[in-house]
């Protein structure tokens, strides 16, 4: 498998074409707008979290490259039904997967995004929706507007 095919695995191409949960959740309890000014990737992540901290609904909507879009699609698939705590743990695991040499992380089928690690300039693409998720759930920014580069 070439580097490229490693990066753009079938599943990624497929999720890029048909992203899941590609919508705003309404009404939602949590929100964040993530933008990468350099490449123009731009997504809104919305969630409805129940009183017992379970993610009942999650959606993402916006515009961006195949990596960012597939990442959002796979993220929303994985997170639905998890608790906020579990979601944040998964986020940390995912970040480890694509930014460190750690081999032993539990991310399920998100593993298909591992190839990104070999393309350092694309890592931020894969991370954007996850950073927005983090911001939505933990208020890393006041305005729930975040930018990454």
């Amino acid at each position: 498998m070439s580097n490229l095919e490693h990066l753009y695995q079938e599943m990624i191409l497929e999720h890029n074409k048909n992203p899941r949960h590609f919508q705003e959740v309404n009404p939602h309890t949590h929100y964040s707008h993530g933008h990468n000014p350099l490449c123009g990737d731009d997504y809104v992540v919305t969630l409805r979290v129940s009183s017992n901290h379970v993610i009942e609904e999650i959606g993402f909507k916006g515009d961006g490259c195949a990596i960012s879009k597939a990442s959002g699609s796979l993220m929303t698939q994985k997170l639905k039904g998890l608790t906020v705590e579990e979601a944040l743990e998964l986020k940390d695991n995912f970040i480890s997967l694509i930014t460190t040499d750690e081999e032993d992380v539990d991310v399920g089928k998100l593993i298909v995004l591992k190839g990104v690690k070999k393309f350092p300039v694309r890592v931020k693409c894969a991370l954007l929706v996850w950073r927005a998720l983090e911001d939505a759930l933990t208020e890393t920014s006041d305005s729930h507007e975040i930018t990454t580069e």
């Binding site: 070439s2 580097n3 490229l4 990066l7 753009y8 191409l13 000014p37 350099l38 490449c39 123009g40 990737d41 731009d42 515009d63 961006g64 490259c65 195949a66 990596i67 393309f119 300039v121 694309r122 693409c125």
Partner: protein, 404 residues
């Protein structure tokens, strides 16, 4: 000084020996440097290095002469009237900042306006935003769907409150070569605005004659004209420069300093605070030698050949949407591909060793104008060949095949 082989300038550039496989299509961002430029810089550092101005010893006198000689070269290269009109700066960005802060701040008051266009690089937008009080003082000339200046709209923007008009000579995204001379003569007739031309993308591609253009300021960067980074030129009409206050201050630009009162040297020294980029000035001189060796006529021919071929090939790809189809264009091609994000295009092309740029190209308002978040861009310089175009097109088709 610089050897040149007009038939095949590519062999003047060692980078292509080290990367035999490289198809470099990002010359709009920065050009490669011919060996003659590197050699001139290395020889200066090994044989002549010294500071300039005021040295009484031989090395320093010679270094000063060498730098002043480059000033003369630049004067000749753009046909300025006087060498005092040539100011060494860091690059086009610094040049525009200098004019905005030194000239603009003093002359653009409440109610006055500055006119730019929708195709400007951030370097020719943001400095002007910094010196105005309210956003409506910045008037923006529309561009057509082809990516040409809307000259009728421009005319409606110019009035007697227009203090500065700042336009790019060639667009770094669209490739459009603007009809600068006609614009300037219209502006001259209808206002007393001072006119700055951003020549960053023109200077290595066409003859520039600032007296014929009759602009007040013209600027460009060394690194986009086969020269080094860290050096650029601001041309300004002498009578204007004479009246302008300094921008940066420090050594070499003063006349007298006391704690009570400081007076400043005449231009160009007034605008060159601190130790200049000496070795970069030498490199810029060698780059001009190189260009004049090949001749701008030949460079234009090469551009034309590359333009025709690339344009035809790109237009023949049905999925490709070319942004910027002006009648008069430099070989710069921005495009999007339906269904594939530019970022993905860039990554795929890189796997085929085709270096293109993707993103907003420091022109976010222009991206918005064309309703795209980003584009992919191929741009050409004298070392590119038809082989490069062939490989780029092949890589592009492979990319499309991969995604669609």
């Amino acid at each position: 000084m610089t050897r040149f082989t007009p038939e095949n300038p590519r062999s003047d550039f060692s980078i292509f020996t080290h990367h035999a496989d490289l198809v470099y299509l990002d010359s709009t961002a920065t050009t490669h440097k011919p060996d003659g430029v590197l050699d001139a810089m290395a020889a200066f550092l090994k044989e002549k290095n010294a500071t300039v101005h005021r040295g009484i010893y031989g090395l320093s006198v010679e270094a000063t002469d060498r730098c002043e000689h480059v000033r003369q070269q630049v004067k000749g290269f753009i046909n300025a009237e006087k060498e005092e009109e040539i100011i060494f700066v860091k690059g086009a960005t610094e040049a525009i900042n200098l004019v905005a802060h030194s000239y603009g701040k003093a002359h653009v008051g409440k109610g006055d306006n500055i006119v730019i266009s929708h195709m400007e690089h951030h370097a020719n937008i943001v400095p002007w935003q910094q010196i105005i009080e309210s956003e409506d003082q910045l008037r923006v000339c529309q561009i057509t769907d082809e990516g040409e200046l809307d000259l009728e709209h421009l005319k409606t923007l110019i009035d007697n409150q227009t203090k500065i008009v700042a336009l790019t000579h060639v667009s770094n995204v669209l490739g459009t070569v603007n009809p600068i001379k006609e614009c300037i003569s219209y502006i001259r007739e209808h206002s007393s605005a001072k006119i700055l031309i951003d020549g960053a993308q023109a200077i290595a591609h066409m003859p520039v004659d600032v007296q014929d253009l009759d602009c007040d300021f013209y600027c460009f960067s060394g690194h986009k004209m086969y020269g080094p980074t860290g050096i650029g030129i601001l041309y300004g009409k002498h009578d204007l420069l004479l009246k302008m206050p300094p921008y940066q201050t420090g050594g070499d630009m003063i006349e007298f300093v006391s704690f009570e009162k400081t007076t400043f040297a005449k231009p160009p020294a007034r605008f060159e605070a601190g130790t200049p980029a000496i070795v970069e000035i030498i490199g810029l001189g060698a780059a001009i030698d190189y260009i004049q060796g090949i001749t701008l006529e030949r460079l234009q021919e090469i551009d034309m050949e590359l333009f025709e071929l690339a344009n035809t090939e790109l237009q023949s790809i049905p999925e490709l949407n070319l942004i910027g189809t002006a009648a008069h264009k430099s070989p710069v091609f921005s495009f999007t591909i339906k269904g594939i994000h530019s970022h993905d295009v860039g990554t795929c092309m890189d796997q085929e060793h085709v270096a293109i740029r993707v993103g907003h190209h420091c022109a976010q308002p222009l991206m918005k104008r064309f309703g795209v978040p980003a584009t992919a861009r191929m741009s050409f310089a004298c070392y590119n060949t038809s082989d490069d175009i062939e490989r780029a097109i092949k890589a592009l088709k492979k990319t499309i095949g991969f995604f669609i």
